[in-house]
């Protein structure tokens, strides 16, 4: 039996993204959603771990939950998986209201803890068989699914070994296998590659990317390059608050910098100098920097005028170009622009951002 939380209106329609003049958010997602949360808050005494989170995760997406340590990512996942209860707000996962003792909710979800723990006395295959049985698999279907998941995560050779003897990477892959085993509609992966070496990291990220269109994946991390590799939509949290939520491409496009990079073919020194002088006297250009290798980095005040006029100016100066591009920001650039770097005062002894506190 499924039930929606009171006060939650499921959205419908297609995905629309925010423009550059406003902050993107969950209301921009109007397609089939796997997760729908409104006003989720979590306090521990005076500590605010999560503050009024609104979130919609499109069905079938690989959704990145980003933020520095202590931003509220794990708290969000713990609430959505029914391990913790919100102080305020409500959410549905696969249309089922989240709550602590809700087996019908967990039928739809898989979960990997950021520090996955298992029974050391159990063998890898036994754990997956247990999880499969709990998920309703039996007989040949159970054996086939366990075998397939062991293959997929590269654990077949160690399936009969006790988990107590597994390496950190093996445990992480076993964690992913158990999260996916009963073919859940939604999978929550909390920092899935944090303890892996580069090779293991690559393998796990490829495995997650392969889940696209197969299941909805929510992956939390503070490693932005990982998100850029696999996610198609992201939410950025900072100190328990949602800073933005948007499709990754749109987020990058919205925060594209008004900077162009030009590189001339070799042997055009005088023409490039002429171009540089002309550009520096152009009113819609705020800065022209000569970079190593003969490149020019041009900061413009009006990207629309620049898009129409910059290339003709280059041609007019007689410069033959090897490279002409608008500099695309990385997710890290966007993240730092939106969240900023914490000051030393804002960090605790473990490198976590100090949570916000309110009067009780």
């Amino acid at each position: 039996m499924t039930s929606a939380s009171p006060g939650l209106d499921p959205p419908s329609g297609t995905v629309v993204v925010a423009g550059p003049d406003r902050v993107a958010g969950p209301d921009d997602v109007v397609g089939p959603v796997a997760i729908h949360a409104r006003g989720l808050s979590k306090r521990f005494g005076s500590i605010v771990a999560l503050d009024g989170l609104d979130l919609d995760v499109p069905t079938g997406s690989i959704f990145g939950l980003l933020g520095p340590n202590g931003a509220g990512k794990t708290t969000t996942i713990r609430i959505l998986t029914g391990l913790a209860r919100p102080t305020a707000g409500a959410a549905t996962v696969a249309g089922v209201a989240v709550g602590l003792d809700r087996p019908e909710l967990r039928q739809h979800l898989g979960y990997l803890d950021q520090d996955p723990r298992f029974y050391g006395w159990m063998r890898g295959r036994e754990l997956l068989e247990l999880v499969g049985r709990l998920g309703g698999l039996a007989g040949a279907d159970l054996r086939a699914q366990v075998g397939a998941m062991l293959d997929r995560t590269g654990l077949t050779d160690v399936a009969e070994r006790r988990i107590g003897g597994y390496s950190g990477g093996m445990r992480q892959r076993l964690g992913i296998a158990q999260a996916l085993l009963h073919r859940p509609a939604i999978v929550f992966l909390d920092e899935p590659v944090s303890s892996l070496d580069p090779e293991g990291r690559r393998d796990v990220l490829e495995l997650i990317a392969d889940l696209r269109d197969e299941t909805t994946v929510v992956v939390s991390t503070h490693v932005l390059s990982d998100v850029e590799r696999i996610c198609d939509r992201v939410a950025i949290l900072d100190r328990g608050r949602l800073v933005t939520e948007a499709a990754l491409d749109q987020l990058l496009a919205d925060h594209v910098r008004p900077v162009y990079r030009l590189a001339a073919d070799p042997g055009q020194g005088p023409a490039v100098e002429l171009l540089t002088r002309r550009l520096r006297s152009t009113p819609w250009i705020t800065d022209v920097s000569a970079m190593p290798g003969g490149e020019l980095r041009i900061v413009v005040s009006d990207p629309a005028v620049a898009a129409a006029s910059l290339l003709p100016a280059v041609v007019d100066a007689g410069v033959r170009l090897a490279v002409f591009e608008r500099v695309r920001p990385t997710l890290e650039d966007v993240f730092l622009e939106l969240v900023g770097s914490p000051s030393a005062d804002e960090l605790d002894g473990r490198g976590f951002i100090r949570p916000r506190e309110v009067e009780r």
Binding site: R106, R117, E126, L130
Partner: protein
């Protein structure tokens, strides 16, 4: 009770694989075998220890002494083992994070608790049965045969008493993340109930009230009515289980 079957299977496998069942069963077997021996040879042992310096006059040991010795030993060692079995059942899983592994699967928290309590109960049942069988055999050899249905019924009552200590400890294990705190609750209950058990008209409503009826059943002689302490102990176990469930279903992991 979603997931009870697979969870119970896991708990029983854990009892075996972590050697809890073999170790506990072996201890109980030793207790069962040694009880009639102690009853039979205590006068000789005391005589040998005392030598010619003093004389102790003891009645000739009987099968009743063997049964009393068994009840005392299983009650003490078994009670302690029941507390040890239950103290980490939930607390350790919460503390290590394995509870979160299972409880993000389609299982109810009630099933999680019931599977654990049943597994503890089965381990204690097997162990008490082994201890009783060993004691019955040596009583037969050293004294006289005891009625099998009677001693089986007495063993069942003894198991019920141990389950009471395990259940109270289990509540502590559910309420806290500390196995030691859970054990503390179990031991305090063990002591307090033991003291209250000697209060007239109170003892028969407590698990310790099962001792008298159990002895009588084992020896095949008339004795106190077992119904009241049996029902009271079953109610106590039920209340403990209910308390654990009510607390656990509201806990964050």
């Amino acid at each position: 009770m979603a997931g009870l079957g697979p969870l119970l299977r896991k708990e029983l496998l854990e009892q075996w694989r972590t050697l809890r069942l073999p170790v506990v069963a072996t201890i109980f077997l030793l207790v069962g075998l040694s009880s009639p021996l102690l009853a039979r040879f205590t006068p000789e042992i005391l005589k040998a220890v005392g030598g010619d310096q003093f004389t102790i006059s003891l009645p000739t040991p009987t099968a009743a002494d063997a049964v009393d010795q068994l009840a005392k030993n299983v009650g003490q060692f078994g009670g302690l083992i029941a507390v040890l079995l239950a103290m980490g059942a939930v607390a350790t899983e919460k503390e290590r994070g394995t509870a979160a592994l299972l409880l993000t699967k389609p299982v109810s928290r009630g099933a999680f608790l019931v599977a654990k309590l049943v597994a503890i109960g089965l381990t204690l049942a097997v162990s008490v049965a082994i201890a009783t069988a060993g004691a019955w055999f040596y009583t037969l050899v050293l004294f006289a045969p005891l009625p099998v249905p009677g001693i089986a019924a007495g063993a069942a009552l003894q198991w019920l008493t141990l389950m009471a200590w395990a259940s109270i400890t289990f509540v502590g294990s559910t309420l806290t993340r500390s196995s030691l705190a859970a054990a503390g609750l179990g031991i305090v209950a063990f002591i307090v109930v033991g003291i209250l058990g000697v209060v007239p008209n109170v003892g028969r409503f407590l698990p310790t009230g099962l001792g008298g009826p159990g002895r009588a059943l084992a020896l095949g002689i008339p004795g106190p009515d077992p119904v009241v302490p049996t029902v009271a102990t079953i109610v106590l176990i039920g209340v403990a289980g209910l308390t654990a469930w009510l607390a656990f279903r509201r806990q964050e992991l």
